[in-house]
């Protein structure tokens, strides 16, 4: 199959592309390589892709509609995997405009192209942050998600709603994946795993928010990619609308699905720090900080729906994943 992967120089985009190339698919990657974080890391990830399989890459911004139209005119994609986005919760407090352009305008352009080219299935990244202020754990896709606490979360939720509209109006099959705190080799340098590892290796203090009183459902990138690849082929089907068709927020008569993809095993932040200390072989110096705006205290994924649909759910233990992360971190940064 020929698959478009947007955000292919990104963390999950690179891993998903590798996996698809290794399975013999043809991958076309798009990324604007913006400098939200160190561009050299994005370039190194792309270099990993260029050595494998039938991979071609185009550098442009998905908000550039004519460029995207042109790309879809030149290729017939069997699947579209949208992993491009402006990520980060804190950045959305100081740079809200970037989220409107990258997460709303660009996503609308993707929807339009998929609609007109009659793409068989659009799979796109959503986020566990859509659960916002929800207190009921674990988070289920059947729960209402109407109380986002960051603009990032609001744009990701908007993506799901936009996708539902296109599934309903034009019969475009769409699946949204709510990722839970993804980590692993080639991970983003602005995420806690990378920040903590660098600081512990260099003997600098680490900022621990909310006095470490937080739990995260850390999900290994290998598990995420396994789920993504399976979901690409689990194309949602339309059904005849009947009573109850729209009772569950995650279900619809339109060809539309939303899944959680997380480890279903929330780990206290201090345990995660302990595992990094063990993998690095050094103790962390803690600098306690209050809770950050836009952050939530705990995340945990209910993955029953995902398992029922594709027969897989993430399960890599955090200790194993952290070992593999730290190994990569030391090799990449030569520390």
């Amino acid at each position: 199959m020929k698959i478009l992967v947007t955000g292919s120089a990104g963390f999950i985009g690179m891993h998903a592309s590798i996996r698809l190339l290794d399975a013999g698919h043809e991958v076309v990657g798009v990324d604007n390589l913006n400098d939200y974080y160190d561009v050299r890391l994005k370039e190194s990830r792309l270099a990993q892709l260029k050595r494998r399989g039938v991979f071609s890459f185009e550098r442009f911004d998905l908000a550039d509609k004519p460029r995207l139209n042109d790309l879809f005119a030149r290729h017939r994609f069997d699947r579209v995997l949208n992993l491009a986005a402006q990520a980060g919760v804190r950045y959305s407090l100081t740079n809200p405009d970037a989220y409107i352009t990258s997460n709303l305008v660009a996503f609308m352009n993707i929807l339009e192209c998929c609609r007109h080219q009659k793409v068989a299935h659009l799979t796109y990244a959503s986020s566990s942050s859509v659960y916002g202020a929800n207190a009921k754990l674990p988070f289920s896709t059947s729960d209402p998600v109407d109380h986002p606490v960051s603009l990032y979360a609001a744009t990701k939720r908007a993506n799901e709603l936009m996708a539902h509209t296109y599934s309903h109006l034009f019969g475009l099959p769409t699946t949204g994946l709510r990722f839970f705190t993804v980590y692993g080799p080639w991970g983003r340098p602005d995420m806690s795993m990378a920040l903590f590892t660098s600081a512990i290796v260099e003997g600098r203090p680490i900022n621990v928010f909310n006095h470490g009183n937080m739990r995260r459902d850390f999900t290994f990138v290998g598990d995420i990619v396994e789920g993504v690849v399976r979901v690409l082929d689990a194309i949602p089907q339309a059904s005849v609308p009947g009573p109850g068709s729209y009772d569950d927020p995650a279900r619809s008569a339109a060809p539309f699905r939303v899944f959680n993809i997380g480890n279903s095993n929330p780990v206290p932040l201090m345990d995660m720090i302990g595992l990094i200390e063990a993998a690095v072989g050094k103790k962390a110096i803690l600098n306690h900080m209050p809770m950050q705006a836009g952050d939530v205290a705990e995340t945990s994924a209910d993955t029953a729906d995902l398992f029922a649909a594709v027969g897989f759910k993430p399960s890599t233990p955090l200790a194993d994943g952290i070992k593999r992360y730290v190994e990569w971190h030391r090799g990449y940064h030569k520390v």
């Binding site: 804190r90 950045y91 407090l93 740079n95 340098p189 600098r204």
Partner: protein
């Protein structure tokens, strides 16, 4: 924030810092031997984050900045001048940047110039990336000093040269640029009070920077670039001699930059008003 005889402007500067959306900071104000009652104005502010250190002799900006660096207990260190006004999001945006970009040592932000009446007079040309900021190191760096926020370890490693009375910043950048990473946020987050240039000040500045160029080009064996840099400073001094006394230097330097949008002017207006409220009372 080193202060020296800034009684009329320091209030607005302090208010603009106390109004920051990012609240977790220690505000070190170092009085460098003021004789006009500046310290009394500063003492009038009752905020637990302010720490005023009074000196009765003036040793200059570089000495006071080094002192502040050694006294600071935070991983990040930000500059502020006693006659400038920070936008409310300045610290938040810069902290966010330095946490997101661990490879960067120092980050500035966009600057607009204003006069004593609070009128906008132009803006500092924006250079975003390390490459753009350091395009011509031997002719100077585009990273306005009062906007700096960086890692304290970086400041401690390179430090300011105590003997510099002017261009301390350019000297520091010239010593550090090839083993550091600089960046500048592409949004305006500081109002910079621009006083009229005097011939003497600008010539002294050029002399100090020439000293930096000579030392650093010698150390790096960059003879050609160093000579070119010195010739450029000489030529600029000559240009200053011919234009500054007649008030034509602004035209020659061309630093007014792109025109300001109505939104930007309105935003500045609000910030200026907020920082100068009850200044007279």
């Amino acid at each position: 924030m080193p202060v020296r005889n800034a009684r009329t402007t320091v209030g607005a500067a302090i208010r603009s810092i106390l109004a920051q959306t990012y609240p977790h900071f220690e505000f070190l104000i170092i009085d460098d031997g003021s004789t006009d009652g500046t310290a009394e104005v500063v003492s009038g502010f009752r905020d637990p984050r302010i720490r005023l250190i009074r000196h009765h002799v003036s040793l200059g900006l570089a000495v006071r900045l080094n002192e502040a660096i050694s006294m600071s207990g935070s991983p990040l260190f930000a500059r502020m001048d006693a006659d400038d006004v920070a936008y409310p999001m300045r610290l938040e945006a810069q902290v966010e940047f330095l946490e997101r970009r661990p490879e960067c040592d120092l980050v500035g932000c966009g600057v607009l110039f204003f006069d004593d009446a609070g009128r906008v007079t132009g803006r500092y040309p924006l250079r975003r990336t390390h490459g753009e900021i350091c395009l011509e190191p031997w002719r100077g760096f585009f990273l306005p000093h009062p906007t700096w926020m960086g890692r304290r370890a970086w400041f401690a490693r390179f430090g300011y040269h105590d003997s510099y009375r002017k261009t301390q910043d350019q000297d520091l950048l010239l010593r550090s640029f090839d083993s550091s990473c600089f960046a500048c946020l592409d949004r305006t987050l500081l109002g910079y009070r621009r006083a009229r240039r005097t011939l003497w000040k600008s010539l002294v500045g050029r002399a100090y920077f020439s000293r930096s160029i000579a030392r650093e080009s010698w150390r790096r064996r960059a003879w050609l670039a160093g000579c070119a840099g010195l010739v450029a400073q000489g030529a600029k001094s000559l240009a200053d001699l011919l234009t500054v006394p007649f008030g034509m230097d602004g035209w020659l330097r061309g630093r007014s930059g792109a025109a300001m949008s109505a939104n930007e002017l309105e935003e500045w207006e609000m910030i200026w008003k907020a920082c100068n409220m009850d200044l007279e009372t």
